[in-house]
C-alpha cells in the first residue's frame, strides 16, 4: 500500500467508538455527570455489540 495512515481493524474500531460516543454524549446530555455516564455506556455498548457481532460471524469466516 502506498502512503496513507495504517490502522488495524481493532484500532479503527476503538477510535470510531470513542469519537462517536463523545459526540453523542455532548449532544444528547446537558449535565457533565450525565454526559460522562452516557459516553461510557455508549462506548461500552459499541465494544460489546461490535465484538459480539464479530464472534457471531466467526463460524462463517472460513
Amino acid at each position: 500500500m502506498t502512503g496513507g495512515l495504517v490502522l488495524s481493524h481493532f484500532q479503527a474500531f476503538l477510535i470510531f467508538a470513542a469519537v462517536v460516543s463523545v459526540a453523542f454524549g455532548f449532544l444528547g446530555r446537558r449535565q457533565p455527570k450525565d454526559r460522562v455516564r452516557y459516553i461510557l455506556w455508549s462506548f461500552f455498548l459499541f465494544l460489546v455489540v461490535g465484538i459480539g457481532i464479530g464472534w457471531l460471524m466467526f463460524p462463517f469466516s472460513r
Binding site: M1, G4, L5, V20, V22
Partner: protein, 146 residues
Amino acid sequence: MSEPTNETIQVQPPLEPELKASPAAENQALMFALAGWLIPGLGHALQRMWGRALIVFVSVGLLFFLGASMRGNVFTARGNDAFDKLGYIADLGTGSFYFLGRALEQDGADVSHANGDYGTRFLATAGVLNLLAALHAFEAARGRKA
C-alpha cells in the same frame, strides 16, 4: 352491573396550543442549522453552546481527517450506483470539510486495501454526525432541545 348515575361528564379543558416560534425565529433556527452544516459546530457556537460546538468540530474534523488519511473514498455527484450516491450525500454532510477534502486530495482513494475501506466509513460517519449536530442546533434554536 352498576346502575347509571346522573353525574355530569367532566369535560377536560382543551390543551394549550403548542407554542409556535415566530417566522423570524424559525428563519434564525434554519440559519443556525445551515451554519452548523457548513462549518461543523458553528450552529452551536452561534447559540453560545461552546462545549458542544467544540466537540462537534473536533469529532467531525478528526473523523474526516482520519478517513482522508486512510485514503478513504470521497464520493462525487457522479456516482455509478445508489450506494455511491448515498455515500456522496453522507460525505457532503461534512459541509466545508467535504470541499476542502476534494480540493486537497492528492493521491485519491485506495479502497483496494482494508484501510481505505475503513477510511470511507470514517468519512461517511463524519458527514452523518455533522448532519445530526446541525439538526440538533436547529432544534435547540427552536427551544425543543437543550
